[in-house]
Protein backbone atom coordinates (compact mmCIF):
# COMPACT_ATOMS: atom_id res chain seq x y z
CA UNK A 1 0.00 0.00 0.00
CA UNK A 2 1.28 3.47 -0.87
CA UNK A 3 1.71 6.14 1.79
CA UNK A 4 -1.21 8.02 0.27
CA UNK A 5 -3.33 4.86 0.35
CA UNK A 6 -2.40 4.38 3.98
CA UNK A 7 -3.39 7.99 4.76
CA UNK A 8 -6.71 7.50 2.95
CA UNK A 9 -7.38 4.37 4.98
CA UNK A 10 -6.36 6.16 8.18
CA UNK A 11 -8.65 9.11 7.41
CA UNK A 12 -11.63 6.77 7.05
CA UNK A 13 -11.20 5.07 10.41
CA UNK A 14 -14.06 6.09 12.76
CA UNK A 15 -11.80 7.80 15.31
CA UNK A 16 -10.16 9.91 12.64
CA UNK A 17 -13.55 11.03 11.32
CA UNK A 18 -14.73 11.77 14.86
CA UNK A 19 -11.58 13.81 15.54
CA UNK A 20 -11.90 15.67 12.27
CA UNK A 21 -15.51 16.55 12.91
CA UNK A 22 -15.09 17.44 16.56
CA UNK A 23 -15.46 21.15 17.24
CA UNK A 24 -13.72 21.02 20.60
CA UNK A 25 -11.21 18.15 20.71
CA UNK A 26 -9.17 19.19 17.69
CA UNK A 27 -8.58 22.81 18.87
CA UNK A 28 -7.75 21.54 22.36
CA UNK A 29 -5.14 19.08 21.06
CA UNK A 30 -3.77 21.80 18.78
CA UNK A 31 -3.49 24.17 21.74
CA UNK A 32 -1.68 21.57 23.84
CA UNK A 33 0.69 21.02 20.90
CA UNK A 34 1.44 24.74 20.58
CA UNK A 35 1.68 25.53 24.28
CA UNK A 36 3.95 22.55 25.05
CA UNK A 37 6.35 24.32 22.71
CA UNK A 38 6.99 26.60 25.69
CA UNK A 39 8.36 23.71 27.74
CA UNK A 40 10.20 21.74 25.08
CA UNK A 41 11.46 24.45 22.76
CA UNK A 42 11.79 27.05 25.49
CA UNK A 43 14.30 24.90 27.35
CA UNK A 44 15.91 23.64 24.13
CA UNK A 45 16.57 27.26 23.13
CA UNK A 46 18.12 27.97 26.55
CA UNK A 47 20.37 24.91 26.12
CA UNK A 48 21.35 25.88 22.57
CA UNK A 49 22.13 29.40 23.76
CA UNK A 50 24.45 27.89 26.39
CA UNK A 51 26.16 25.90 23.62
CA UNK A 52 26.89 29.06 21.66
CA UNK A 53 28.04 30.79 24.85
CA UNK A 54 25.17 33.29 25.04
CA UNK A 55 23.60 32.37 28.41
CA UNK A 56 24.55 30.71 31.74
CA UNK A 57 28.21 31.13 30.83
CA UNK A 58 29.33 30.29 34.37
CA UNK A 59 27.29 27.04 34.57
CA UNK A 60 28.87 23.74 33.44
CA UNK A 61 27.37 22.53 30.14
CA UNK A 62 26.97 18.99 31.53
CA UNK A 63 24.77 20.40 34.32
CA UNK A 64 22.58 22.27 31.86
CA UNK A 65 22.17 18.99 29.97
CA UNK A 66 21.48 16.77 32.98
CA UNK A 67 19.14 19.24 34.71
CA UNK A 68 17.12 20.33 31.66
CA UNK A 69 17.09 17.24 29.43
CA UNK A 70 14.45 15.30 31.43
CA UNK A 71 12.06 18.25 31.07
CA UNK A 72 12.83 18.61 27.39
CA UNK A 73 12.19 14.89 26.90
CA UNK A 74 8.84 15.11 28.69
CA UNK A 75 7.85 18.12 26.59
CA UNK A 76 8.99 16.42 23.40
CA UNK A 77 6.92 13.33 24.22
CA UNK A 78 3.80 15.51 24.54
CA UNK A 79 4.68 17.24 21.25
CA UNK A 80 5.01 13.90 19.46
CA UNK A 81 1.80 12.42 20.87
CA UNK A 82 -0.31 15.53 20.19
CA UNK A 83 1.36 15.91 16.77
CA UNK A 84 0.38 12.34 15.88
CA UNK A 85 -3.21 12.98 16.97
CA UNK A 86 -3.35 16.13 14.81
CA UNK A 87 -2.04 14.13 11.86
CA UNK A 88 -4.47 11.28 12.58
CA UNK A 89 -7.41 13.70 12.45
CA UNK A 90 -6.52 15.04 8.97
CA UNK A 91 -4.15 12.50 7.37
CA UNK A 92 -4.62 12.97 3.63
CA UNK A 93 -4.59 16.76 3.53
CA UNK A 94 -1.65 16.86 5.91
CA UNK A 95 0.29 14.26 3.94
CA UNK A 96 -0.16 16.29 0.79
CA UNK A 97 0.73 19.57 2.48
CA UNK A 98 4.14 20.82 1.38
CA UNK A 99 4.83 22.50 4.75
CA UNK A 100 4.15 19.24 6.58
CA UNK A 101 6.72 17.48 4.40
CA UNK A 102 9.25 20.26 4.92
CA UNK A 103 8.62 20.06 8.67
CA UNK A 104 9.26 16.30 8.73
CA UNK A 105 12.56 16.72 6.87
CA UNK A 106 13.59 19.50 9.27
CA UNK A 107 12.71 17.30 12.27
CA UNK A 108 15.02 14.61 10.90
CA UNK A 109 17.78 17.20 10.42
CA UNK A 110 17.29 18.50 13.97
CA UNK A 111 17.45 14.92 15.27
CA UNK A 112 20.61 14.15 13.28
CA UNK A 113 22.22 17.33 14.56
CA UNK A 114 21.44 16.37 18.17
CA UNK A 115 22.81 12.87 17.58
CA UNK A 116 26.04 14.16 16.03
CA UNK A 117 26.48 16.48 19.03
CA UNK A 118 25.90 13.79 21.66
CA UNK A 119 27.96 11.14 19.86
CA UNK A 120 30.73 13.61 19.03
CA UNK A 121 31.98 16.68 20.85
CA UNK A 122 29.75 16.07 23.90
CA UNK A 123 31.62 12.83 24.71
CA UNK A 124 34.64 14.95 25.63
CA UNK A 125 32.56 17.53 27.53
CA UNK A 126 34.81 17.15 30.60
CA UNK A 127 37.50 19.04 28.68
CA UNK A 128 35.29 22.07 27.98
CA UNK A 129 32.50 21.81 30.55
CA UNK A 130 33.31 25.13 32.21
CA UNK A 131 34.31 27.09 29.12
CA UNK A 132 32.07 30.18 28.97
CA UNK A 133 32.26 29.85 25.18
CA UNK A 134 32.24 26.15 24.15
CA UNK A 135 34.44 24.80 21.30
CA UNK A 136 33.51 25.48 17.70
CA UNK A 137 31.83 22.10 17.08
CA UNK A 138 29.54 22.61 20.06
CA UNK A 139 28.72 26.15 18.92
CA UNK A 140 27.89 24.87 15.45
CA UNK A 141 25.60 22.22 16.97
CA UNK A 142 23.84 24.89 19.08
CA UNK A 143 23.48 27.29 16.16
CA UNK A 144 22.24 24.57 13.81
CA UNK A 145 19.73 23.41 16.40
CA UNK A 146 18.36 26.95 16.80
CA UNK A 147 18.06 27.28 13.02
CA UNK A 148 16.42 23.87 12.45
CA UNK A 149 13.90 24.28 15.27
CA UNK A 150 13.01 27.80 14.16
CA UNK A 151 12.26 26.41 10.70
CA UNK A 152 10.26 23.54 12.25
CA UNK A 153 8.08 26.10 14.06
CA UNK A 154 7.57 28.22 10.94
CA UNK A 155 6.76 25.19 8.77
CA UNK A 156 4.44 23.85 11.48
CA UNK A 157 2.53 27.13 11.65
CA UNK A 158 2.17 27.19 7.85
CA UNK A 159 0.57 23.70 7.72
CA UNK A 160 -2.66 25.37 8.85
CA UNK A 161 -2.66 27.59 5.76
CA UNK A 162 -3.82 25.89 2.61
CA UNK A 163 -2.35 28.02 -0.17
CA UNK A 164 -0.95 25.03 -2.02
CA UNK A 165 -3.72 22.54 -1.32
CA UNK A 166 -5.28 20.81 -4.28
CA UNK A 167 -8.87 21.98 -4.82
CA UNK A 168 -11.29 19.41 -3.41
Amino acid sequence: MSLLGFCEWLGNTPWSVALHESLSVYPVVESIHVLTLCLFLGLAVMFDLRLIGAIMRSSPVSQVVSRLLPWMRAGFAVMVVTGFILFYGVPVRTYENVFFRVKMVLLILAGLNAWVFHAGVYRKVAAWDLDPTPPLRARIAGGASLLFWACVVIAGRMIAYNWFDKPV
Binding site: S31, G42, L43, M46, I55, M56, R67, I154, M158
Partner: protein, 158 residues
Protein backbone atom coordinates in the same frame (compact mmCIF):
# COMPACT_ATOMS: atom_id res chain seq x y z
CA UNK B 1 -16.54 55.94 27.56
CA UNK B 2 -16.15 53.01 25.25
CA UNK B 3 -12.76 51.97 23.91
CA UNK B 4 -14.35 50.59 20.74
CA UNK B 5 -13.57 53.76 18.69
CA UNK B 6 -9.91 53.33 19.65
CA UNK B 7 -9.94 49.73 18.38
CA UNK B 8 -11.62 50.90 15.20
CA UNK B 9 -8.97 53.56 14.70
CA UNK B 10 -6.17 51.01 15.23
CA UNK B 11 -7.75 48.68 12.69
CA UNK B 12 -8.03 51.51 10.14
CA UNK B 13 -4.26 52.18 10.20
CA UNK B 14 -2.37 51.51 6.99
CA UNK B 15 -0.08 48.91 8.60
CA UNK B 16 -3.03 46.75 9.69
CA UNK B 17 -4.60 47.10 6.29
CA UNK B 18 -1.49 45.89 4.48
CA UNK B 19 -1.31 42.86 6.80
CA UNK B 20 -4.98 42.11 6.15
CA UNK B 21 -4.58 42.45 2.39
CA UNK B 22 -1.52 40.24 2.22
CA UNK B 23 -1.76 36.47 1.87
CA UNK B 24 1.44 35.70 3.73
CA UNK B 25 2.13 38.66 6.09
CA UNK B 26 -0.17 37.49 8.90
CA UNK B 27 1.20 33.91 8.96
CA UNK B 28 4.75 35.27 8.74
CA UNK B 29 4.25 37.59 11.73
CA UNK B 30 2.48 34.76 13.59
CA UNK B 31 5.58 32.61 13.04
CA UNK B 32 7.83 35.35 14.40
CA UNK B 33 5.50 35.66 17.39
CA UNK B 34 5.82 31.88 17.98
CA UNK B 35 9.63 31.99 17.75
CA UNK B 36 9.61 34.75 20.36
CA UNK B 37 7.33 32.55 22.47
CA UNK B 38 10.04 29.89 22.64
CA UNK B 39 12.66 32.39 23.82
CA UNK B 40 10.51 34.18 26.37
CA UNK B 41 8.99 31.01 27.84
CA UNK B 42 12.43 29.40 28.13
CA UNK B 43 13.71 32.43 30.03
CA UNK B 44 10.65 32.41 32.31
CA UNK B 45 10.71 28.64 32.94
CA UNK B 46 14.42 28.60 33.75
CA UNK B 47 13.82 30.99 36.66
CA UNK B 48 10.43 29.66 37.84
CA UNK B 49 11.70 26.07 37.82
CA UNK B 50 14.75 27.18 39.80
CA UNK B 51 12.46 28.90 42.32
CA UNK B 52 10.80 25.51 42.75
CA UNK B 53 14.17 23.82 43.31
CA UNK B 54 13.94 22.18 39.88
CA UNK B 55 16.03 22.60 36.77
CA UNK B 56 19.29 24.48 37.29
CA UNK B 57 19.33 23.96 41.04
CA UNK B 58 23.13 23.82 41.39
CA UNK B 59 23.19 27.53 40.62
CA UNK B 60 21.75 30.22 42.85
CA UNK B 61 18.35 31.70 42.01
CA UNK B 62 20.02 35.07 41.58
CA UNK B 63 22.57 33.69 39.13
CA UNK B 64 19.91 32.03 36.95
CA UNK B 65 17.67 35.10 37.14
CA UNK B 66 20.55 37.34 36.03
CA UNK B 67 21.40 34.96 33.18
CA UNK B 68 17.80 34.81 31.99
CA UNK B 69 16.88 38.48 32.31
CA UNK B 70 18.37 39.87 29.05
CA UNK B 71 16.65 37.06 27.12
CA UNK B 72 13.39 37.71 28.91
CA UNK B 73 13.51 41.44 28.16
CA UNK B 74 14.48 40.84 24.52
CA UNK B 75 11.75 38.21 24.18
CA UNK B 76 9.17 40.51 25.76
CA UNK B 77 9.96 43.41 23.40
CA UNK B 78 9.89 40.98 20.46
CA UNK B 79 6.49 39.62 21.54
CA UNK B 80 5.01 43.08 22.13
CA UNK B 81 6.12 44.28 18.68
CA UNK B 82 4.99 41.20 16.73
CA UNK B 83 1.81 40.98 18.82
CA UNK B 84 0.95 44.63 18.15
CA UNK B 85 1.30 44.04 14.41
CA UNK B 86 -1.09 41.08 14.59
CA UNK B 87 -3.44 43.22 16.69
CA UNK B 88 -3.57 46.12 14.22
CA UNK B 89 -4.80 43.75 11.52
CA UNK B 90 -7.81 42.52 13.53
CA UNK B 91 -8.42 44.97 16.38
CA UNK B 92 -12.22 44.81 16.16
CA UNK B 93 -12.21 41.02 16.31
CA UNK B 94 -9.98 41.23 19.40
CA UNK B 95 -12.35 43.75 21.00
CA UNK B 96 -15.19 41.26 20.69
CA UNK B 97 -13.21 38.21 21.86
CA UNK B 98 -13.08 37.37 25.58
CA UNK B 99 -9.74 35.59 25.11
CA UNK B 100 -8.10 38.85 24.03
CA UNK B 101 -9.20 40.58 27.24
CA UNK B 102 -8.08 37.62 29.34
CA UNK B 103 -4.70 37.76 27.63
CA UNK B 104 -4.32 41.52 28.13
CA UNK B 105 -5.31 41.31 31.81
CA UNK B 106 -2.84 38.47 32.44
CA UNK B 107 -0.13 40.22 30.44
CA UNK B 108 -0.56 43.46 32.39
CA UNK B 109 -0.38 41.64 35.73
CA UNK B 110 2.44 39.34 34.61
CA UNK B 111 4.68 42.21 33.52
CA UNK B 112 4.10 44.14 36.75
CA UNK B 113 4.58 41.02 38.88
CA UNK B 114 7.77 40.04 37.06
CA UNK B 115 9.47 43.40 37.42
CA UNK B 116 8.38 44.00 41.03
CA UNK B 117 7.76 41.07 43.39
CA UNK B 118 9.42 38.34 41.33
CA UNK B 119 12.47 40.45 40.62
CA UNK B 120 12.85 41.42 44.28
CA UNK B 121 12.64 37.77 45.33
CA UNK B 122 15.03 36.42 42.66
CA UNK B 123 17.62 39.13 43.32
CA UNK B 124 17.37 38.92 47.15
CA UNK B 125 19.87 37.19 49.40
CA UNK B 126 18.81 33.52 49.18
CA UNK B 127 18.90 33.12 52.98
CA UNK B 128 16.12 35.69 53.42
CA UNK B 129 13.62 33.92 51.16
CA UNK B 130 11.76 30.84 52.45
CA UNK B 131 11.19 27.93 50.01
CA UNK B 132 7.46 28.48 50.48
CA UNK B 133 7.74 32.07 49.34
CA UNK B 134 9.84 31.23 46.27
CA UNK B 135 7.39 28.52 45.26
CA UNK B 136 4.47 30.88 45.66
CA UNK B 137 6.20 33.41 43.41
CA UNK B 138 6.94 30.70 40.82
CA UNK B 139 3.31 29.53 40.81
CA UNK B 140 1.97 33.07 40.45
CA UNK B 141 4.37 33.73 37.57
CA UNK B 142 3.51 30.46 35.80
CA UNK B 143 -0.25 30.98 36.24
CA UNK B 144 -0.11 34.55 34.88
CA UNK B 145 2.09 33.71 31.88
CA UNK B 146 0.01 30.58 31.13
CA UNK B 147 -3.03 32.85 31.01
CA UNK B 148 -1.23 34.99 28.44
CA UNK B 149 -0.31 31.97 26.29
CA UNK B 150 -3.71 30.29 26.58
CA UNK B 151 -5.56 33.55 25.82
CA UNK B 152 -3.30 34.15 22.85
CA UNK B 153 -3.97 30.71 21.39
CA UNK B 154 -7.70 31.12 21.94
CA UNK B 155 -7.91 34.45 20.07
CA UNK B 156 -7.28 32.35 16.96
CA UNK B 157 -10.46 30.33 17.57
CA UNK B 158 -13.48 32.43 16.82
Amino acid sequence: MSVLPFFGWVQSLAVGESIRNSLWLFPAIESLHLLGLAVISGSILLVDMRLFGLGMRNQSVRQIARDAEPWFVTGLIWMLLSGSLLFTSEAIKCYRHWAFWLKMACLFLAIIFTFTIRRRVTMADAATITPFKSRLVAIASLVLWSGVGFGGRWIGFS
